[in-house]
């Protein structure tokens, strides 16, 4: 790889040990993927925040990097295992909370903004079209590449941290226009609506892409989609298809920029979506946990939840997971009071996927296809997908 003199200085250890280790990671990745050079990044989002995944050794690594590492660009974190202000009400142990706070403190020491969210684009960590960034959360990577038109590979925790501490990433993969072309046309012949509906579409297309062995779909047949619907779609297609970039005709900014895929068009019909929905509803399900906000809820979604909950009483464990700054807006707008008066709980900084709640509930109802996947795989719950309205109805039943 061709390095600038400053990049070489970092690699040679002249800018401290953390910068050197970071440059070792980035140059090695660059060599593996045949990058010719580095590119400057304007924003970083780091995954690998939950203490449940990092353990003591991961924390030790972060602490070593924090000895002399300082971020070069705006950097935020993925959700953690706890709500820093409300962990007791969510039933998290004091020991876990203490360790999780040690992790967040190590990130803070490096100058990282310790807002923990999978929707950095809602909380001020937002690139513009065409900017190079290094993000790790798979749903946010897909959103940034596809909906915003920024450019990022799917980073891991350490490689994203390395980019934060150097301001660089190797220029390969989705950073290059030639690798962003649609590879297969997908035609949707069905009405799709709601966060649950778009999540189901994401699963259907994601599963189809795995079958076809393709990465980047060019999707037609979707006349409109809200930010929240696209957020849900991104999370789902990334979970089920490993997708980091899609084009959607008339909706995403790069849909007309590259040559369209040639070859057979793969069709998605109403029946395919119904089959996918039924795959996201387990048999013999007894719901004792309802969660909305995977990915983290927007202020629009929180307003909707508040309107639906007004004057009702929640009778099951019900979490609304969101970024802390969005919760602050909900506080100011009066939505939080309505929601909390009804007996629902905000779980900020965290979510139903990364909080240490394995086995605590029997059946989880969500509006997110991604949460269904991890609810089953990681937390051993039975799951069901439904609309936001169905979630509220079940929680207050």
């Amino acid at each position: 790889m061709k390095l600038t003199s400053e990049e070489q200085n970092m690699l040679d250890g002249k800018r401290g040990r953390a910068a050197q280790k970071s440059m070792e990671i980035l140059t090695t990745l660059g060599e593996i993927f045949d990058a010719e050079c580095m590119v400057d990044v304007s924003s970083v989002q780091i995954a690998g925040v939950s203490y449940a995944n990092l353990g003591e050794a991961g924390l030790e690594f972060l602490s070593e990097m924090a000895d002399d590492g300082k971020v070069k660009v705006l950097t935020t974190l993925n959700p953690a295992g706890i709500d820093r202000e409300n962990w007791q009400a969510l039933g998290i142990s004091a020991e876990f909370a203490k360790n999780q706070i040690r992790v967040i403190d190590a990130f803070a020491k490096m100058g990282i903004i310790t807002t923990c969210s999978c929707t950095p684009y809602f909380i001020g960590n937002v690139p513009h079209f065409g900017q190079h960034i290094a993000w790790a959360e798979s749903s946010a990577v897909c959103y940034a590449n596809s909906v915003i038109g920024a450019r990022t590979n799917r980073e891991g925790g350490p490689s994203a941290l390395a980019s934060a501490l150097t301001g660089k990433t190797p220029k390969y993969g989705y950073h290059l226009g030639e690798n962003r072309h649609g590879q297969v046309s997908i035609k949707v012949n069905a009405q799709v609506k709601g966060t649950d509906g778009f999540g189901i579409l994401g699963k259907t297309i994601g599963d189809r892409l795995i079958e076809l062995g393709k990465n980047i779909p060019f999707i037609t047949g979707i006349p409109s989609a809200s930010v929240e619907e696209l957020k849900s779609f991104c999370a789902s297609i990334a979970t089920y298809g490993g997708t980091a970039l899609f084009h959607m005709e008339g909706i995403t900014p790069e849909f007309d920029r590259y040559p369209r895929p040639t070859g057979n068009v793969s069709e998605i019909n109403q029946e395919d979506l119904e089959n996918a929905r039924s795959e996201l509803v387990d048999d013999c399900l007894e719901v004792d946990f309802v969660s909305i906000g995977c990915p983290h809820a927007s202020i629009n979604e929180i307003e909707k939840i508040a309107n639906l909950l007004k004057g009702k009483k929640v009778r099951k464990e019900f979490w609304i997971t969101t970024a802390r700054p969005i919760k602050r807006i909900a506080d100011e707008a009066g939505y939080s009071k309505i929601i909390e008066d009804a007996g629902a709980k905000f779980a900020t900084d965290t979510c139903c996927v990364v909080a240490p709640i394995k086995g605590r509930f029997k059946g989880m109802l969500v509006d997110s296809a991604k949460a269904c996947y991890y609810g089953r795989a990681t937390n051993k719950f039975k799951v069901k997908i439904g609309t936001i309205e169905e979630c509220i109805e079940e929680a207050t039943k």
């Binding site: 090695t28 990745l29 593996i32 690998g48 003591e56 050794a57 690594f61 891991g156």
Partner: protein, 129 residues
Amino acid sequence: MKLKGRKIYKGIAGGEAIVTKDGISFYGGVDPDTGKVVEVGHELEGQSITGKILVFPTGKGSTVGSYTLYRMKKNNTAPAAIVNKQMDTIIAVGCIISEIPCVDKIDIGEIKRGQRIVVNGSEGTVEVK
């Protein structure tokens, strides 16, 4: 016999080869406390990789696997070196942060289980004794 591959992380380590045709996911697939492979149905299920030269085609699974390798290094349960056919980012980053010698682009079919081999991460070579 000396096999020539590509340098991933520097350092020299010798030891007994443990070889599998299956990919390895360090997150969830290997217990960092015991050094044993725990993935159900894996060719190496139940076997320890601690202190061995671990030879496998490529990494798979969650990116958290890089931290699992680091945990193994700190717990003294890590392999002495890693040899891959094709490197993936999880294994590469795991070896860099854990300072485990590592090479790829090696014809791993040439290496048999139990052989004494020496990995030279700086040169990108594997010597089979």
